[in-house]
Amino acid sequence: MIRLRAYLPLLVLFCALQTGLAQDLASFEKRVQVKTLPNGLTVLLLQRPQAPVFSFFTVVDAGDAQDPMGKTGLAHMMEHMAFKGTNNIGTTDIAAETAALVKVERAYADYDRENNRVVNQDEKKVAELKAAWEKARQDADQYVVKNEFGEIIERNGGVGLNASTGLDSTQYFYSLPANRLELWAYLESERFLHPVMREFYKERDVVMEERRMRTDSSPTGRLVEQFLSAAYDGSPYHRPGIGYMSDLRHFSATDAAEFFKTYYVPSNMAVAVVGDLDADKTFAVIERYFGRIPSGPKPEEYITAQTKQNSERTVLLHDPSQPFYIEGYQRPNFRDKDDPVYSVISSVMSEGRTSRLYRTLVRDKKIAVASAGFSGFPGDKYRNLYAFYAVPSQDHTATEMANAIHEVVERLKSDGVTPDELKMVKTRSKAALLRSLANNQGLAINLAENQLKYGDWRELFRRIEKIDAVTNEDVRRVANEVFVNTNRTVGILETNKSTAKGAQQ
């Protein structure tokens, strides 16, 4: 009796809190407006009049998974090109420049063909064609006003100007003071209406440096590239998003333009704007500017499907750096009905100091610096990996990580999660959503991505209900289905102190 009385007020408080949360979420949900323009572009808008600023997020439903064979890294390259300006930004004379760029492409095609010739290659001819191509580039460069597109944004107070390309999609984003709405609508629509593939081959050099930084010169970068190529076969996820070096040396501005034409169509894109904006005026401005982008069919969505794995695969990299361990299990894509179950698993296994991997590997066994599990490696639009990794503590080996992770995973398979854990995950997911609402850029990202992935931005809020419905039985079922040896790929980085040259390809 006493216990019951002591707990009663707490219980009441808890219920009250839950209702309060739900109200806050619901009020946000009501403030989101969505429109599809006649050309097929989906536009989302959320007013958040906290301060006279706004953020946006443009997402294109194409990433490096869509790179054509022999042209890996093209989607990412296109993203870089989207900063190069338009037919009246970044040029002194668009007519002359266009003519010069046509010549660059012709010269490059000639050079590239001869350069790739396997039998009877004429070295002298290759050198001549290369020189001719370089000359053509110099000609075209004389019309360029460098980085004018970025400069306009920056001098107008733009912050957080950036973009990123994943395997699944490409995204563009920044924030501006609220009085720059029309300027933004102009710049962002022009970017996709009149792009110009200027300085393409210099930018290709920049991307090669990006590859050297992220992949070739980084121990985990090296491991991850090999790991993914072992884990996937049919799926384009087996290729590095940044591209193979040889493809980076091969693809052309013509290829990028072709990619752009196919995938950068309104029906394949979504734009979300969040901030201190008047809804009617904003929609009007967006319709005026973005409505100009010609419509096009939703591009072909077929890709080779990943075959179901039937054997364990291992990648062992001897490297001069300290050890690292990762393993992945194939799981269905993000639209799978069990997707929320994987979220629950990630939360229980990886989130915070109460997580099972932290407690077992870091706190109790003291063999790791960090350990976690997560979905969607390297993307989630297609069949993908649920991965676990661990960073060994000093003097501990990758094998110890594997054993400890398996111990934790086996416990999940046999016992599932406790009621307390399940409750904690559900509370945390609500709180995380609530916290994400306090940020214009974060909101724009969430709205646009949910719209693109599910065809409905409301999924951002529905997700909470789906996580609420997950049971311990679900967790055990999914864990037993997926976390099995024959569905596993292992990546081990093992220190090899005598390796003088380990990295280069």
Binding site: L13, D24, Q50, A51, H76, F83, N88, K146, N147, G150, E154, N156, G157, N162, S164, T165, P177, A178, N179, R180, E182, L183, Y186, Y201, K202, E203, D205, V206, E209, R212, M213, D216, S217, T220, V224, I242, Y289, P320, S321, G352, R353, R363, Y389, Q394, D395, T399, D420, K423, M424, A431, L434, R435, L437, A438, T495, K497, T499, G502, A503, Q504
Partner: protein, 728 residues
């Protein structure tokens, strides 16, 4: 280097979204409107040129200033109400940080920051706090940094009282439990062992050393020895001396009523007694000599280049002009460094830089670029050229206007959320800046002229004083680099810790140690037998990771050793003598790196036969530190110091060596290895073990069997000669 940054690096590598551009050095503060560019929009409603687009005036926006309250005990409170969401968060800055920790205990403040939260309160352990907070989706976290330590919380409004209770208890009654300090130390040691893995980590550490000087507190990094030196008592003392109300600035933002909040905070902090004021720290800054410094990293194909000099303190009136200069020079997509070295030359993905500024001490001026190994020199010259240009001519009016516009038009983003405004105010209070510093900054930037930019460029950027740091594949660029100036290699070998005595006895017993060693000599066949050994030729079969390797080893006492290993890919030779240390495979010959060389020399010095032959030498000491059961046998543990090479011996009741433990250092840091000896056999009267097992961290790593051994056989001196270098 800390664990958090390490985890960040690894997670970034994993998530690997290929982002377009790195943030270049960004300005700290900026401002609202300058002159908008009004021009009539076209009547059709669609502009055909960006210049036609009218920019309406931004509505006046006055951010809500936090309410400042000082309690009688000195604690400074800032309160900002924000009712958008049912959340409350707060953070306290506490005076005193790593800059004032003793050099011999570098890492103390970081360990303090980690253990403060994980070590729990006197009532609840850190693990109990984890359970309590996570169930409420709440956070309470602590950390230590250069000038301050901090404790923060974040919770749903409904949990505020519960979470505040924990927060206050942690502030006033922390326990710093020993097990969590041990865990934090383990994490920190692991970070140390990983600090040479990524070029960027190496560059960042060396950048501080070159910029502030090796001895400066701003450049020091934890080492194994300094981590080991930190005790539980150190953390308690640090807390006692620093975390007192008059050293704390505490800001709270969120869905609350300020009056109620003030009353609540008075209740929980009001009775807290004042402590000593934390004295201001004076940190010595003595930059290293200008020149070209190289860290060799052979597993990369890109060079990480930094140019380093001293920057300014933010209070400096030239701060405004320097911010404008930074924007022009290296601050964004349209900066000179980005445009010329990335866009135009295609030399880099990552490039940027500027004159840095610190709140209470000089920041560093850093220019950085990452370029492929082949263009290392070109990139350095490219940066120098930009420096020359910066100092030679004032920026054009257009450049100046762009830079000022960029700063002033984005100014609003300094205070577009209540949390940002609160943080600014806490920082100004902490470092003694005026509350309207942001306003002053805006006015200062507005007044900057092109001549100001030229003046500050010449006053603060000194090409001759810049230290050039290159982390990369040195063998491929060193020659070319030498054409630019004297190249100084930097050895980044991680220093080995002193071997810690694992037994209970505090001080060793020398006579017992010597007695045990004498017994060992007898067990090997007596002093005459031991001292007569001049050479050993051994054939060993080595099993490691399931692979068997044949090893031929010739030792010429006291200081020469040649090994021949038969590997699947051919025969590998490894030789160490006082005058040479190299390895050879086929036509390839390579000198051992200094760290490996000294580690090999130490290992030869540690060789038990070598040690026993020197047992009478005063540079060799033996002290018994206790007894330990190894299997059924009770062994005497002897601390051996062989002229600086240290190890521990476990000597059995029959005098035979059962086990040896020592620390070995590689490129990536030390590891403690245990060697177990068994199966003793007689070789012409010399008793010698023939089975060895090497154990690392409890895991067996290798097994060896001595299949044959010749004592005092002639050894061909040619064995120790370095073959002529055929190929590099």
């Amino acid at each position: 280097m800390n664990t958090k940054s390490l985890i960040a690096v690894i997670s970034t590598a994993l998530l690997m979204g290929s982002m377009y551009a790195q943030e270049a050095t960004k300005n700290d503060a900026t401002k609202q409107e300058t002159s908008p560019k009004p021009a009539p929009a076209t009547s059709a409603g669609v502009a055909t040129n960006w210049k036609q687009i009218a920019i309406p005036t931004l509505p006046p926006f006055k951010p809500q200033e936090p309410k400042r309250i000082v309690f009688p005990n000195g604690i400074v409170i800032f309160l900002t109400e924000n009712h958008e969401l049912p959340l409350i968060s707060g953070s306290a800055m506490i005076r005193g940080g790593a800059a004032s920790e003793p050099a011999s205990k570098t890492g103390l403040v970081e360990l303090y920051g980690a253990t403060w939260r994980t070590g729990g309160t006197t009532k609840l352990s850190g693990d109990q706090l984890d359970d309590y907070l996570e169930a409420r989706a709440a956070k309470v976290e602590t950390s230590g940094s250069e000038e301050s330590t901090s404790i923060s919380f974040n919770c749903l409004k409904g949990d505020f009282n519960d979470v505040l209770g924990i927060f206050v208890n942690l502030m006033r009654n922390p326990a710093f439990r020993e097990d969590k300090l041990a865990l934090a130390k383990k994490q920190m040691n692991s970070s140390i062992s990983r600090r040479n893995d990524e070029s960027e980590d190496i560059a960042s550490m060396q950048q501080d050393i070159l910029g502030y000087g090796k001895q400066s507190a701003y450049a020091r990094v934890p080492e194994y020895a300094t981590v080991a030196a930190v005790t539980h008592d150190d953390l308690l003392q640090w807390h006692k001396q620093h975390t007192t109300p008059n050293n704390i600035i505490f800001g709270v933002v969120g869905d609350f009523d300020s009056k109620e909040m003030e009353a609540t905070l008075r209740k929980v902090f009001g009775d807290w007694v004042k402590g000593e004021k934390v004295p201001e720290t004076k940190v010595a800054i003595a930059p290293e000599k200008p020149g070209i410094y190289v860290v060799d990293k052979s597993d990369v194909n890109q060079s990480e280049i930094r140019m380093i000099g001293l920057g300014i303190v933010r209070k400096n009136p030239d701060y405004y002009a320097l911010q404008v200069m930074n924007e022009i020079f290296g601050g964004g997509f349209s900066s000179r460094l980005f445009s010329n070295l990335r866009t135009k030359a295609g030399l880099a993905y990552s490039v940027g830089g500027g004159v840095g500024s610190g709140w209470d001490h000089q920041g560093l001026t850093v220019l950085e670029i990452g370029t492929k190994t082949e263009t290392t020199t070109e990139a350095i010259k490219g940066l120098w050229e930009q420096v020359d240009l910066l100092k030679k001519e004032a920026p054009t009016e257009l450049e100046l206007k762009r830079a000022k516009d960029a700063i002033l038009n984005s100014f609003i983003f300094n205070f577009d959320t209540p949390a940002k405004v609160l943080r600014e105010q806490e920082t100004y209070e902490f470092y003694g800046y005026p509350r309207d510093f942001l306003e002053q900054y805006r006015n200062g930037v507005e007044k900057v002229t092109a001549a100001d930019v030229l003046r500050v460029a010449n006053k603060y950027v000194h090409k001759d004083e810049l230290k050039v740091l290159v982390v990369g594949n040195a063998s491929e660029f060193t020659k070319q680099l030498a054409t630019l100036g004297t190249v100084t290699p930097i050895d980044i070998t991680i220093p080995t810790p002193e071997i810690t005595v694992s037994t209970n006895k505090a001080t060793g017993n020398t006579s017992e140690g010597k007695a045990a060693v004498a017994k060992f000599v007898e067990a090997m066949g007596g002093a005459n037998m031991v001292n007569a050994v001049k050479t050993l030729h051994q054939s060993i079969s080595l099993i490691q990771q399931g692979m068997e390797v044949k090893l031929d080893q010739s030792i010429v006492y006291p200081d020469k050793q040649a090994q021949k290993m038969t590997l699947p890919q051919g025969e590998m030779k490894r030789v160490v003598t006082p005058s040479a240390a190299f390895m050879a495979m086929g036509a390839q010959v390579r000198d051992l790196p200094p760290s490996e060389r000294s580690s090999e020399a130490a290992s030869l010095k540690r060789d038990f036969l070598n040690v026993l032959q020197h047992a009478g030498d005063s540079k060799y000491t033996f002290s018994a530190s206790g007894k330990e059961k190894l299997g059924d046998a009770e062994a005497i543990v002897v601390e051996v110091n062989a002229d600086g090479a240290k190890s521990q011996w476990w000597i059995g009741p029959d005098g035979k060596l059962l086990q040896e433990e020592f620390s070995e250092v590689g490129q990536t840091g030390p590891t403690t290895l245990t060697m177990k000896y068994s199966d003793w056999k007689s070789f012409d009267g010399l008793q010698y073990p023939t089975k060895y097992e090497m154990v690392n961290g409890g895991q067996p790593v290798a097994k060896m069997t001595l299949s044959s051994m010749e004592v005092n056989a002639a050894v061909d001196p040619k064995l120790f000669e370095k073959p002529a270098q055929v190929a590099q």
